[in-house]
């Protein structure tokens, strides 16, 4: 089954890198993948779209993704352009970074009653953990949990590969951020950050505090 992902962000927010990381995660999970960007003008802040196709067999088409199964929105201010929501159908999923909360976002998407909405305040999480409002790794973790296409192990490996040139500290912090976002959607796996732990993703299970 061909699954199509469309990511909306702004130049500098990491939409293209996120598409590549999704592709890498799926590829390492034995899927056939294709990831590609659609740049607008090449400058920071300009709207950017990036696409991923994930399948079990050869992917031949190279047109833009008009009917995504998963729509990922890195920047909620992009919602002002309603054209961004084109192609949403019953059963599709929207994963959005917003501080508004799921109920508020669901109102915006009320014309799409059959679309699953997953909302996370990734900016707050990202500033907290990596010190920058870059949300792509957070949404990668969220994407892993919400779609089940690949697991956190694949996410960790993809972050290590794609962000390796930023040094081990940034890699570990991004893994921590992705794990937090992953756990945000998993009611049974709420972590607390343990002071001094650099690598939350491999933290000893005994140290985990499960939120009842």
């Amino acid at each position: 089954m061909l699954k199509e992902v469309r990511i909306h962000g702004r130049g500098g927010q990491g939409a293209v890198t996120m598409a590549e990381m999704i592709a890498l995660c799926a590829y390492n999970s034995r899927k056939v993948v294709q990831a590609f960007p659609s740049f607008g003008v090449e400058r920071r802040g300009a709207p950017v779209e990036a696409y991923v196709r994930i399948s079990e067999k050869e992917i031949s088409r190279r047109d833009h993704i008009a009917n995504p199964d998963y729509l990922v929105i890195l920047d909620p201010t992009l919602l002002e352009n309603k054209g961004m929501l084109n192609g949403l159908d019953k059963g599709d999923m929207v994963l959005i970074n917003s501080s508004k909360g799921e109920d508020e976002i669901k109102k915006i998407f009320s014309i799409y009653p059959d679309v699953k909405i997953k909302c996370i305040d990734a900016v707050t999480l990202a500033i907290d953990i990596i010190g920058k409002p870059i949300v792509n790794t957070a949404l990668l973790g969220a994407f892993a949990f919400c779609t089940g296409i690949f697991d956190m192990k694949a996410v960790r490996a993809a972050i290590e590969e794609k962000l390796g040139d930023k040094g081990p500290e940034m890699v570990n912090k991004n893994i921590e951020l992705a794990q937090k976002a992953y756990d945000h959607f998993d009611p049974h796996k709420q972590f607390v950050v343990i002071p001094g732990e650099q690598h939350l993703a491999v933290v000893d299970e005994d140290k985990m505090v499960v939120d009842s």
């Binding site: 590549e20 592709a23 890498l24 590829y27 056939v32 993948v33 294709q34 990831a35 590609f36 960007p37 659609s38 740049f39 090449e42 992917i59 031949s60 088409r61 190279r62 047109d63 833009h64 008009a66």
Partner: protein
């Protein structure tokens, strides 16, 4: 080895394995990642070539011209305005019969300014005497570079491998980069016969007067036309060595078809889906891709298209005031040899998305 790679990254890796002596290129979107990766391979000590930085594409082309004339395997890459800036040198490289290989990451040409994909750049330099190959996907773009070097050095003629900007240069997919030992076996060390050498002085491209110029140019014309046999042979050799098919013309579901689309480059993959869907709804359509544009595969095209009632030519470049450039080429191949309707369709200029629906809608 199979890896998930961006198209440009894959090209840089195969070029390094082809072991050029001199690489010179000037960065320009969407070719930039190829040059960046080649520069990085060099900086990281993973490459043997000399990387010559230049102030323009004109200079980069001139550097590879000189290096090639001195008997070195060379490489350059460019696109769009950069290719046009090279134009004078491109004529000279081809006229001097130098085995330069270049990648053109196809892109639109201004004005208005536009950095996205179509094929106007390559079509504009089609008369220079370069052999021109087109890739339908990233794997083919990689593989065609091996064929390009082998052909270029086999007959001393320059070869341009075209790959659609962004659609292939910026897409990540699984690519098989041939192992170094297999590359070495297929493409042995370059042994030039004629080259600039202070110990054995020669001159290249000396003045040809009214007495000789025409003969020299027409000889070159014949040489480029006749290069088809070596290109086809090399593609077959490639298949024997690496197991992947390369051919001057690809066909898809042409058996039993009454109408065929003819296209060039990465749009083939999208058009395949359009053909699948049309076939499902009972429409007898097929698809043809031109992978070798210079020399033009007249024979192969005639063999497929003469059986059709209608041919829809999908052009990504226009001869302004005339028609789509690929349409003219197809008409030339078929003229006086068969009766078939030819529709001239121009799509996807300046990176405009061409969807499966768009391609289906060309069938009216």
């Amino acid at each position: 080895m199979k890896k998930l790679l961006e198209g440009s990254q894959a090209i840089a890796q195969i070029i390094n394995r082809c072991k050029p002596g001199v690489v010179s290129a000037y960065p320009i979107t969407p070719q930039t990642h190829i040059v960046e990766d080649l520069a990085k391979l060099k900086a990281d000590g993973e490459a043997e070539y000399e990387f010559v930085r230049t102030e323009s594409e004109f200079a980069a082309a001139s550097v590879v011209l000189g290096a090639s004339a001195a008997g070195t395997r060379t490489y350059t890459a460019t696109t769009s305005q950069g290719l046009l800036l090279m134009l004078e040198v491109l004529y000279n490289i081809a006229g001097l019969e130098l085995p330069v290989v270049m990648t053109c990451a196809n892109r639109a040409v201004g004005a208005p300014i536009n950095i996205w994909n179509d094929q106007q750049d390559a079509m504009t330099v089609r008369d220079t005497g370069w052999i021109m190959l087109f890739a339908k996907n990233i794997q083919e773009a990689v593989d065609l570079h091996l064929v390009a070097y082998k052909v270029a050095e086999g007959i001393n003629q320059s070869v341009m491998v075209n790959m659609d900007g962004f659609y292939l240069t910026h897409t990540m997919e699984e690519v098989n980069i041939p192992e170094q030992t297999n590359v070495d076996r297929f493409l042995p060390k370059f042994k030039p016969v004629d080259f600039l050498d202070v110990k054995n002085p020669k001159t290249f491209g000396y003045l040809a007067t009214q007495k000789e110029y025409q003969e020299i140019r027409l000889q070159l014309h014949e040489k480029v036309k006749n290069s088809r046999s070596l290109i086809i042979k090399t593609m077959k050799d490639f298949k024997n060595s690496f197991g992947r098919t390369l051919e001057p013309v690809s066909t898809y579901k042409t058996a039993g078809a009454k109408t065929v689309y003819v296209c060039m480059g990465s749009i083939y993959g999208t058009a395949k889906i359009a053909v699948d869907e049309l076939r499902k709804s009972g429409k007898p359509v097929g698809l043809v891709a031109i992978n070798m544009f210079r020399p033009f595969p007249d024979k192969e095209i005639l063999a497929v298209l003469s059986k059709m009632k209608k041919v829809i030519v999908i052009n990504r470049a226009v001869s302004l005031g005339a028609e789509g450039i690929l349409t003219t080429e197809i008409k030339k191949a078929l003229y006086g040899k068969c009766k078939v309707k030819i529709a001239d369709e121009i799509v996807g200029l300046g990176g405009r998305n061409v969807s499966v629906e768009d391609i289906k809608n060309l069938l009216v």
